[in-house]
């Protein structure tokens, strides 16, 4: 997002090409999860049907084989063969090997698959598929278009896409702050800000290994910005040991290991609670307590809650559930941080897809860095103020 905000040509052609492949392989990934889900639902339905059948033994003694049963989740043999092959390829990690030829050859099959009744039925129950990320719907709805060889990702597609921060785990961006209209009220001393250059280094932790040895290279940064996707509280992922773990708890563990790392002993941290818009919408239907860390979240919400569209503008309405949840989450992280380090954590709530929201968070980061620089000056002036007061009291 920072690239889109601050660079005139955010992505080079090579980068766009790579991003396109990432998005397309992500879509295949989502499709795979969907197909696995379909398999599961089919099994469950069949089990339910056979249970019914066994209770009516007298009527159906002859038809014992399950293969004769059809549920709404069943797909035809040709599609089933394709589905099995796709799942097998994904599990063996060879998805990259079948690209990009895959898009041409298999596109019609994928199109058929997506139109199939069974897949649509599975898609309706997608909230039950733990491994399917919320962002998948954005792409799956347009899967047929995306999987074409001439597909060009739009800026919004890129923002939504997962795994787009370069595959090798590191991306650097140099920028300086443009003067926007609202900055007019700053006094002239701040004019030099336009000359200050900032470097935003984006690190995707997964790509750099679980051990935090590489952190030692960043001991001189001004500040660490830790991003947490708020809507991860009910999402699960498979960790290194093959266990299904709550994503929010994984984030917390990672957060703990970073803030306690000896390299960052005196480092300022800014926690960005991201994807607030998705979170606000999700918290209405899935309680925050689904994540065990948040099990003491008992919001007091008035009955006359206003529509979330107007709540951010009007100061007279009580906070939405989403806002209460965001505040609660920030407090949990702040408490955790001060218990680990004895310092205070800066937090910011952001909707990652709205330029203004991201810009505000980065401006906050810039302010924090400036405060740090000016801290020594303040303590000196305080002292001199104190001493003049003392002398004015002397008899």
């Amino acid at each position: 997002m920072a690239k889109i905000l601050y660079k005139p040509v955010p992505f080079t052609e090579d980068e766009r090409e790579n991003i396109k492949l990432t998005i397309q392989s992500n879509v295949y990934g989502y499709l795979g999860i969907l197909l696995e889900g379909r398999d599961r639902f089919e099994e469950e339905s069949l089990a339910a049907v056979t249970k019914e059948q066994s209770t009516d033994e007298t009527e159906h003694i002859g038809s014992k084989s399950n293969t004769n049963c059809q549920t709404i989740y069943s797909i035809g043999p040709r599609l089933k063969a394709f589905s099995d092959w796709l799942l097998k390829t994904m599990v063996s990690g060879n998805l990259e090997a079948i690209f990009p030829a895959a898009t041409r050859e298999y596109a019609p099959l994928v199109e058929e698959l997506l139109k199939d009744e069974a897949i649509r039925a599975t898609y309706k129950r997608r909230n039950e598929l733990e491994m399917l990320p919320s962002v998948s719907s954005y792409f799956l709805e347009r899967a047929v278009d995306i999987l074409r060889t001439d597909y060009e990702p739009s800026d919004l597609d890129i923002l939504y896409a997962e795994g787009v921060t370069s595959s090798n785990g590191l991306a650097c961006l140099d920028f300086s702050y443009p003067q926007s209209a609202s900055d007019d009220k700053y006094d002239t001393e701040d004019q030099h800000d336009t000359l200050l250059r900032y470097q935003l280094i984006s690190v995707h932790a997964r790509g750099l290994g679980e051990n935090c040895k590489w952190l030692e290279m960043f001991e001189d940064v001004g500040m660490v910005i830790f991003c947490v996707a708020m809507n991860d509280y009910d999402q699960f992922t498979v960790d290194g040991n093959g266990l299904s773990t709550n994503k929010m708890l994984l984030s917390r563990k990672f957060f703990e290991s970073i803030v306690t790392h000896p390299t960052f002993e005196q480092m300022d941290f800014l926690l960005i609670l991201n994807k607030f818009d998705l979170f606000e919408e999700k918290i209405e239907r899935a309680p925050l307590t689904q994540c065990e860390w948040f099990n003491d979240f008992h919001p007091v919400v008035s009955r006359h809650r206003s529509n979330s569209n107007s709540s951010s503008n009007s100061i007279n309405t009580s906070p939405s559930l989403g806002q209460l949840g965001a505040h609660y989450m920030a407090v949990k992280f702040k408490r955790l941080y001060s218990s680990l380090t004895g310092r205070s954590l800066y937090t910011s709530v952001v909707k990652g897809l709205e330029p203004d929201s991201v810009d505000a968070a980065l401006k906050y980061a810039r302010e924090i860095l400036k405060w740090d620089e000016e801290k020594p000056n303040f303590s000196l002036t305080e002292y001199s103020m104190y001493s003049t007061e003392a002398s004015s009291y002397s008899p």
Partner: protein, 378 residues
């Protein structure tokens, strides 16, 4: 077999392995009736003595604007390549202090660099997970930068260390944060072998350092955050020849002893150790006991003198001890000499003829220390 049954069997097997390992450790301790230092003292050997003019800083190479992370000498003429946090590789002439090349890197987060055996290319790697090769003789581009002649990509983690296979400009070995070491064929850019990784018994944490045996370039040793060093045969990538336990912290640096039958390691636990390749025994521990404030300085890098009698170890607190390997005593601390570095020593290396030591530090300088006075080539 169900998944839970498999898991149970895995846990039981791991327990068996651990108890066997304990038994092995006990047996080794029984066999090891002495270490090198005690044996040497018993033989009446005395430590090397260093006078004030024996090892002096004769050059300070200034030019980097960021911390120096890595350095390497050429096997032939006295040139040094150094990599720094400012995103540049600088090639120095060690005798004249002149810079012959300043290479701006595509990714500034570089962690390692190496000179090729012929001295015509340099390799570097870092947080971008790629090992980049630069040919020093190629023409510079319009913007004055040397172009990358080959990018070796394939690692899924940062490249922590790289070394060319001696006598060939065509192969090099890298170690990475993705728990593997890789032997690359530079001309094609293909990974010839991968040592370790998911389905092979290799390191279980980031690999930080490699050292190739000077006498037998088919063997190399790697050191890792899993506190072990492993010996590998390049012909057999499936499992390590031997694993060396003993350290209690990340093994930051490994170096083969000049005769190739032993190797040294330096670790976050503040000790250096000498291991024997053939028997697998830990022959000696080099530990300095003066700890200020209970903070044990980490050993960041090590090097042996040509005869192996001296072990140079750089520490995170700026000390650089010269150990007498035979008697396990510190005979000199370069960090306490005049003109020494002002920051942690991040890397060091001995020139090919053993007459000079170069150290790199987070104070952005490199220093060359020469053996002065009567030069006993030890």
């Amino acid at each position: 077999m169900s998944v839970s049954e498999l898991k149970e069997r895995h846990v039981a097997a791991a327990e068996t392995v651990n108890s066997l390992r304990e038994l092995l450790k006990q047996k080794r301790l029984l066999l090891l009736d002495t270490d090198i230092a005690r044996y040497a003292t018993a033989q009446g050997r005395s430590p090397v003595s260093f006078g004030p003019t024996d090892l002096v800083c004769c050059r300070t190479l200034q030019g980097h604007t960021g911390k120096v992370y890595s350095l390497d000498w050429t096997p032939e003429r006295n040139r040094i390549v150094s990599a720094s946090q400012d995103g540049r590789l600088i090639v120095w002439n060690a005798l004249t202090s002149q810079k012959t090349h300043a290479i701006k890197l595509p990714c500034a987060w570089v962690m390692t660099c190496a000179f090729s055996p012929t001295g015509q290319s340099v390799a570097c790697g870092g947080l971008d997970s790629v090992c980049s090769i630069f040919n020093l003789n190629s023409p510079t581009e319009k913007d004055g930068n040397l172009p990358v002649s080959r990018m070796l990509s394939g690692h899924k983690g940062y490249v922590s260390s790289c070394q060319y296979v001696p006598d060939e400009d065509t192969h090099l070995i890298t170690s990475s944060g993705d728990h593997t070491c890789v032997l690359w064929d530079i001309t094609t850019g293909i990974r010839t072998s991968v040592f370790g990784g998911e389905f092979q018994s290799g390191h279980t944490a980031d690999v930080l350092s490699v050292s190739i045996n000077g006498s037998n370039s088919r063997m190399f040793v790697s050191g890792s955050c899993d506190s072990t060093a492993r010996l590998w045969d390049t012909r057999v990538a499936s499992r390590a020849v031997r694993t060396f336990h003993g350290h209690e912290g990340d093994v930051n640096s490994v170096k083969f002893f000049p005769d190739g039958n032993r190797f040294g390691t330096g670790s976050d636990d503040g000790t250096c150790r000498l291991f024997d390749v053939r028997t697998g025994h830990q022959l000696q521990v080099y530990e300095h006991h003066q700890h200020v404030d209970n903070e044990i300085p980490h050993v960041t890098s090590i090097a042996f003198s040509i005869s192996g009698r001296l072990l140079f170890a750089g520490y995170s607190n700026g000390d650089c001890y010269v150990w007498d390997t035979l008697l396990a005593e510190v005979v000199l601390n370069l960090g306490s000499l005049q003109n020494s570095h002002e920051g942690r020593i991040s890397c060091l290396g001995l020139s090919a003829d053993g007459s000079a030591l170069c150290t790199g530090s987070s104070d952005t300088n490199l220093k060359i220390w020469a053996f002065g006075g009567h030069r006993k080539v030890i």
